[in-house]
Amino acid sequence: MAASEMIAHRDLGSERLGRVPTRLPGRPRRVASLMGAPRWAARTGGALSWLVVVVGAAAILLPFAWMLGVAFRTNADLYTDPARLWPDQWTLHGVRAVLDQLPFTRLIINTFVFAGGTTVLMLLFDSMTAFALARLRFRGRNVLFLLILATLMVPFQVTLVPVFLTIYHLGWLNSYQGLIVPRATSALGIFLLRQFFRQLPGELDEAARIDGAGNFAIYWRIILPNAKPVLATLFIIQFAALWNDFLWPLVISSQTQMQTLPAALTLFSSQSGVDHAALMAGAAISLTPLAIAFLLLQRYFVQGVATTGIK
C-alpha cells in the first residue's frame, strides 16, 4: 500500500506532493489530489510542462548566445551561413573593430562615471533625507514627505523637456555634471530607505545621544552601518538601471565623446552597412559588467526586485 502510494506520488510529477509525506511522517499519506486525473495524464502533463519551461529558458538564452557567436566570427562567415549559431573559426575581429569604429574605451568610462557617480550621490542624498524624515523632527517634515511621494507619480517624460532646457542654459549639455546632478536623488530611494530606517529600534539613537553623539554621528555611525544590506541592494538595482538608461543620456549627450554605451550602440546600430561583428562585440562588452555582477550577486538582484515589489 505504502509503496504503491509512493509510486503514485512520483507519477504525478509534483514535487510538493512528494515532499509532504516525508515532512510529516506521522500523518496518513494523502492521495486526494490524484482524484479525477488518470495517472498517465498527470505524468504526461507534468513532463510536458517541464519541457515547455526548459524550451522557454533556451529561447531566453539563445539570443545572447547568438550575440556572442556573431561577435567572434567574421562577417563573411556570418553571411555565408547565417543558420549556424557558433563561428567556424573564432576571431577577435569584432572586438578590434568596435574599438576602432567607436571611441569605445571612452564610452565605457562615461557609462561607469554616469552610473557609478549618480548611484553613489543618490544613495548618499537619499539616505540623508530618509534619515531626517524617519528619525528627526523638523518643521515641514510631513509636507516634504508628501511632496516627495507626489513626484513619484509624475512620469520622467513630463520633466524631460524643461530639464533639458535648464541643462542647456547652465551650459551642462555633453558634460558629466549634466548627466549626473539632475539624477542624483530619487524619490523612490528616499521612500524605501525611510521605510527601512523607521523599522530600526529607537534605542539605537537614544543610546548614542546619551553618549553625546550628534545627528551626523548617529546617521553615519549608527544608521548607515545598520542599513548596509539595503544600501547594497539599492546600489546594485540603481547602478544597473543607470548603466542601461537610454533616453536621458541620449538627450543630454549628443557628442559621441560624452555618450554612454546604450545610446552610442543604438546610434551605431542604425548606420547602414553596420559591421555586425563590431556591433555584437560592443553589445556583449556593454552587457558583461552587469552579467558578471548578476551571476555573482544574484541574491541582491532578486532581493532588490522583490523588496521594491512586495512593499
Binding site: S49, L61, L136, R137, L160, A184, N244, M280, Q298
Partner: protein, 312 residues
C-alpha cells in the same frame, strides 16, 4: 521616541555653527542640512520642471525662437486632431495591453512551475531572469539583427525548415508591432516571475496542507490558495508592467525607430521626435501631459478594481 529624538537633537545642534531664529526659542535644526541636497535637486530638476512643463504646454514654444507666444489650449486641440498622435496612442495601448497580460500570465505559469527550489529550477530561474540585466536597447539591437533577413538566425532556420519566404518581421507594417510586443514579453517575463516567486515563498505551507486535507487537487490549490495569496504581487507586477509599457521608447527606438511608416511609433517616441528632433517643445510638453493623465487614469482604474475585488 519621537519627542526624545527631537529634544536631544536640538540640544546638540548649536555645536555646529547654528543660526539662531528670531521669533522662536528653537535654534537651527540640523535636520535641514540632511534634507538640503535632495530638496535642492528635487526642486530644481523635478518640481520646477513639472510646473514649467505645464506652462510650456500652453505656449507655442520652440527652442531658439525670439518669441514663444501663449496659445492657450491650442496644443491640446491640435493633438486631438493629430492622426499621428492617435496612431501612437493605439500602438502604445496595444503594446501595453498585450505585454502586460503576456508577461504576467507567462510569469505566473513559469513561477508556479519553478516554485520549489532545486538545483535545476534555480538554473532555470537564472535563465529567465537574465534578460533583466540587459538594457532594452541591447535587447532591441540583438533581436533586430536576429530577425534580419540576411544575417538573422530566425529566418535562416525557418528556410532550413523549408519555409520559402519567411515573414518580413520588422519590415512589415502588419508584423512589426507584434514582433516588438513578443520581444517586450521575452524581456520582462523573468521580472514578473521573480516578484511572483517572492510572493509565493510567503504563502504559509499550512494553507496547502489544509487544502489537500480538503481534497483539493493541484489546479484547485492553485486557484484557491496560490492566486488569492499572490494578489498584492500580481497587482504590483500588473501596475509596473502597465506604467513602463505606456512609457515604451527604448525598445522601439532600437528595433524599428517607429517604422515602418509609423506602425510602431509609441507616444514617447513621438514626444521625442517633436521635442528633440523638431524642437517643438510646447507641443512635446502637451504630449507629456496627456501621457501623464493616461498613466494616472489607468493606474487608478487598476487600483480601484483590485480594491473592489478585495472587498468582495
Amino acid at each position: 521616541m519621537a519627542a526624545l529624538t527631537d529634544s536631544s537633537g536640538l540640544a546638540r545642534a548649536p555645536a555646529r555653527g547654528a543660526v539662531p531664529r528670531r521669533s522662536s526659542r528653537r535654534r537651527f535644526n540640523s535636520a535641514y542640512l540632511f534634507v538640503a541636497p535632495s530638496v535642492v535637486i528635487i526642486a530644481v530638476f523635478i518640481a520646477e520642471p513639472i510646473v514649467q512643463s505645464a506652462w510650456m504646454s500652453l505656449h507655442n514654444w520652440t527652442i531658439g525662437a525670439a518669441d514663444n507666444p501663449f496659445v492657450g489650449l491650442a496644443n491640446f486641440t491640435a493633438l486631438w486632431h493629430d492622426s499621428r498622435f492617435w496612431n501612437a496612442l493605439r500602438v502604445t495601448v496595444t503594446y501595453t495591453g498585450v505585454v502586460t497580460v503576456g508577461q504576467v500570465g507567462l510569469g505566473l505559469a513559469i513561477a508556479s512551475r519553478l516554485r520549489r527550489t532545486t538545483w535545476y529550477s534555480s538554473l532555470l530561474r537564472t535563465a529567465y531572469f537574465f534578460p533583466f540585466v540587459a538594457s532594452l536597447v541591447v535587447v532591441g539591437i540583438i533581436w533586430k539583427f536576429l530577425l534580419d533577413p540576411q544575417v538573422g538566425l530566425i529566418d535562416a532556420w525557418l528556410s532550413a525548415l523549408g519555409v520559402s519566404s519567411p515573414p518580413q518581421w520588422l519590415e512589415s507594417t502588419a508584423l512589426a508591432l507584434p514582433t516588438v510586443i513578443a520581444v517586450g514579453i521575452w524581456k520582462n517575463v523573468g521580472f514578473t516571475m521573480i516578484v511572483l516567486l517572492a510572493g509565493m515563498q510567503q504563502v504559509p505551507a499550512d494553507l496547502y496542507e489544509a487544502a489537500m486535507l480538503d481534497g483539493a487537487g493541484p489546479w484547485r490549490r492553485f486557484t484557491a490558495v496560490t492566486l488569492p495569496s499572490l494578489r498584492p504581487a500580481l497587482l504590483f507586477t500588473t501596475l509596473i508592467a502597465t506604467i513602463t509599457g505606456l512609457q515604451l521608447f527604448d525598445l522601439v527606438f532600437a528595433m524599428t525607430s517607429g517604422g515602418p511608416t509609423f506602425s510602431t511609433e509609441s507616444i514617447v517616441m513621438y514626444l521625442y521626435e517633436k521635442g528633440f528632433v523638431e524642437f517643438q517643445m510646447g507641443y512635446a510638453s502637451a504630449i507629456a501631459w496627456v501621457l501623464f493623465v493616461i498613466i494616472l487614469a489607468v493606474s487608478a482604474v487598476q487600483l480601484r478594481v483590485a480594491r473592489s475585488r478585495d472587498g468582495g
